[in-house]
Amino acid sequence: MKILIKNGRLIDYLSDFDGITDIYIEDGTIKEIGNELEYIADEIIDCTGLCIIPGMVDMHCHLREPGFEYKESIETGINSAAAGGFTTIACMPNTNPVIDNQAIVTFIKEKAKSAGKVNVFPIGCITKGQNGQELAEIAEMKLAGVVAISDDGKPVSNPLVMKRALQYAKMFELPVISHCEDKELVDEGVMNEGYTSTILGLKGIPREAEEVMVARDVILAENNDCHVHIAHISTKGSVDIIRNAKKRNVKVTAETCPHYFSMTDEAVVGYNTNAKVNPPLRTSEDVEAIKKGLADGTIDVIATDHAPHHIDDKNVEFNNASFGISGFETALSLCVTNLLQTKVLTYKQFVAKISYNPSKILGINSGSISIGRIADLTIFAPNDKIIVNAQTFKSKGKNTPFDGYELKGKVCYTIVNGKIL
C-alpha cells in the first residue's frame, strides 16, 4: 500500500524536527519526507491543520485475556488501542493464568497477530504465579518475546527477591517495571487518604504506601547498578525521590498516567467507582507535581494503565468495586487538553513521552519518523473538540471517570506498518 501524507505538522523527537511537511509511505516503510512530494498513491491524506507524530506506544495496559474475557479480549483491546491512536502496546501479565512462562507469551503473541492491527508486546511476570517468591523463567520469556517483566498489581514485597530480579533481568537487558505499593500501608484503603476520604468515610491509601517502595527500588537499582522502571507514579513524593535519584545518575525511569495529571480524588465524591483506581487519584498538589515532573524530565513516559472492567465490577459498593480506568480512548485528548494546550509540555516533549522514551525503554524499533523506518504514525487534530462518550468505546470497559468531559484533541488516523487502521 502506498500512502501520501500532505501538509501535516510532523513532530519528531529523535530528529528534533517540528514543521510542515509531506510524508510518502510504501510497503510499510517511510520512503520520503519533504515538501511538495508527488507520488501516485493508493491513499492521499490531507493533513492540513493536523499533527503527525511517531506512533504512540503504551507500555502499560491490561488486555485481560486469557481469563477475564468478559472485561476485555486481546481483539477488543487492540481495537480500543487503535481508536486511541496507539500503534504499539505492551500488556501486563496479571491475566489468568498469569504470563509467567513462554507458552502464555506465545499464546498472547499469536492471538494478537491474528487480530492484526497494532503491535502487541507481552510483559512477563517477575515471579512465578506473581507470588513474589521465586523468579519466573525470565530468559525463556524474553526469547518468546516479552519486552519487560513486572508483577504489576502485586508488588514484589520481598526486597531480596526484587534485588535478584533486577540483577537477573539485567543480563538479558530486560527492564523491570515496578508497581510500587506497600500493601501493609495500604491496609484496607480504597482511595487517596485525605480530606475527601475523611468526609466520605472511606479508608485511605496514604502517599507513603507508594513512596516507600519507590525509595526502596531506587536504592536497589542504585546499589546494584540495575535499571528499574517505576510504573504509574501518582504522588509529589515519588516525583521528588525519582528526581533526586536521577541527579545521582541512578538508572531509574518512570511513567505516569493521564488520570494522575487530569483529576483529583474529589472525583470520588458520590462514591464514583469509575474514579476508583490504583494508585488512587491524589490531590491538586500532586497533580501539579506530576506535571512538573513531566516537564523537567523526571517522568519519562506517559502510559495509560488501561484497565477495562465490566459494569458488574463497578456498579457495586465502593469497597467492592474493582480498581481501574479504561484508558486507551481518552489518553491523547487528556494529554492535548492538560499538557499541550496548557503548555506544560512542548509537542516534542510529548512525543518523547508517548512514543520515543517507551520504545527506548522497551528496546523496540519504534518511536521515530524517519526515512527507512517502519511506518507507525499517529495523526491527530489538536484543536478539535470531543465529548467523551464511554458507550462508544471500542473497549469492552466503559469504566472512565471522564465520561461526558469536553476535551481537545482528536485521533484522526492510526497507521501501523504502513496500513491505515
Partner: protein, 313 residues
C-alpha cells in the same frame, strides 16, 4: 415543608431548615410515645422494610417500634439469613424488596456509600441506618434533638466528641449537623484514631481529652470497638480508658450541667466509667427515647412526601 431528597442518606447534604423541620416534627411524635395508646394512623397502609447487613439492637428495634406505633407494616431482613448469603448484589436485593410494594427501606451496611448506591438505583425512599464509616444520620438527629430539648438551643454550645473518630459514622453525622446548627465542635482521641484533615470539617482537634472538654456543654463519648486494639491502633483497653475514657474526674472540667451522651452500646469501664454512665449528667437513656421520636418523624415525613410525588415516578 418537604425534604428535597426522597432519601435520608446523611446530614452532610441536609440544610439547616430541613434538620430543624425534622426535629420539630419529632417533638410531636415524642408526645405519642408518652401516651397510653401508642397507635396512630400516620403510616397506615405503608410498608417498611429493614435491611440490616450489620448487627444492631437499638437502631433496628427503634425503627420497628416507630413503624408499628404509627400503623405501618414492618418486616426485617438480616443479611446473614437472606439471599445476600447466596451472593446476590445489593442492587438486586433492593429491587426485589421494592418490587414487593415497599415504601421505605431502612438499611445498615458495613460499607460507606452503600445507602447512596441503593438510593440511586431505586425509586422508593432509603433511610440510612449507618453505612460504614460514613454517616448515621438518625443517630445525629436524635443527639441534636436531645441537646436541643435539654439546652433549649444548639447554636453557640460547645460540644466535645471523644473517642474513635476515625471509624465513627456517628461522629461524622454529628459534626455535619452540629456545625450547621451553629455549635462549636471539638473532637478528641488518640492520633491513630483521628481521620486525616478532619479540621477542615470545621472542628478543633485534640489529643488530650482534658483540653477538649473544658467548659463543654455536651460531651459525646463514642464506642470503642475492641477489635481496633488487635489492629494495633492503641496498646490496651486499660491504657485507652486511662487516657481517653470519660470519668467523673474528667467530666468536672466541663460545665456543671454538661450533658453526657453515648450512641450505645457502651463498653462500661472503657470509654465511660460506670459512675459517669449512671450519674446526673448522663442522658443516655433519654437519647434512646428520642431516637424513637426522631425515627417516627422521618418515616412520617418521607411517606407523606412519596404520596405527593406519586405521579412523577
Amino acid at each position: 415543608m418537604n425534604l428535597t431528597s426522597k432519601d435520608i442518606l446523611g446530614i452532610k447534604d441536609m440544610t439547616k431548615d430541613e434538620i430543624e423541620h425534622i426535629l420539630s416534627t419529632a417533638q410531636t411524635m415524642k408526645y405519642i410515645i408518652t401516651t397510653n395508646n401508642k397507635k396512630t394512623p400516620h403510616l397506615s397502609g405503608k410498608s417498611i422494610v429493614a435491611l440490616f447487613y450489620e448487627n444492631s439492637t437499638r437502631t433496628r428495634l427503634s425503627f420497628e417500634l416507630a413503624s408499628k406505633y404509627m400503623g405501618a407494616n414492618f418486616a426485617s431482613i438480616a443479611a446473614s439469613s437472606s439471599s445476600v448469603a447466596k451472593g446476590e448484589t445489593l442492587i438486586d436485593t433492593g429491587k426485589t424488596i421494592q418490587a414487593m410494594g415497599t415504601d421505605v427501606i431502612i438499611m445498615r451496611h458495613p460499607m460507606s456509600g452503600a445507602a447512596e448506591l441503593l438510593a440511586k438505583n431505586l425509586n422508593i425512599s432509603i433511610i440510612n441506618a449507618g453505612d460504614g464509616m460514613n454517616e448515621h444520620p438518625t443517630q445525629a438527629l436524635l443527639d441534636m434533638y436531645t441537646i436541643k430539648e435539654k439546652k433549649g438551643k444548639i447554636e453557640g454550645l460547645k460540644v466535645a466528641i471523644v473517642g474513635d473518630i476515625y471509624h465513627s459514622r456517628v461522629a461524622r453525622s454529628n459534626i455535619w449537623g452540629l456545625k450547621k446548627l451553629g455549635a462549636e465542635v471539638n473532637v478528641a482521641g488518640p492520633s491513630t484514631l483521628i481521620p486525616t484533615e478532619i479540621e477542615k470539617m470545621g472542628v478543633k482537634v485534640f489529643n488530650c481529652v482534658h483540653e477538649a472538654i473544658i467548659d463543654a456543654d455536651v460531651v459525646i463519648a463514642l464506642r470503642i470497638q475492641l477489635e481496633r486494639q488487635k489492629k494495633g491502633l492503641f496498646p490496651t483497653t486499660r491504657e485507652y480508658s486511662k487516657f481517653f475514657g470519660i470519668d467523673d474526674e474528667k467530666l468536672k472540667l466541663a460545665k456543671s450541667d454538661v450533658l453526657l451522651m453515648h450512641p450505645g452500646p457502651v463498653n462500661r469501664g472503657i470509654e465511660l466509667s460506670s459512675y459517669a454512665i449512671d450519674g446526673k449528667n448522663s442522658v443516655i437513656n433519654e437519647q434512646v427515647t428520642n431516637g424513637l421520636a426522631v425515627r417516627m418523624a422521618l418515616l412520617y415525613i418521607l411517606t407523606r412526601r412519596n404520596k405527593e410525588f406519586e405521579n412523577i415516578d
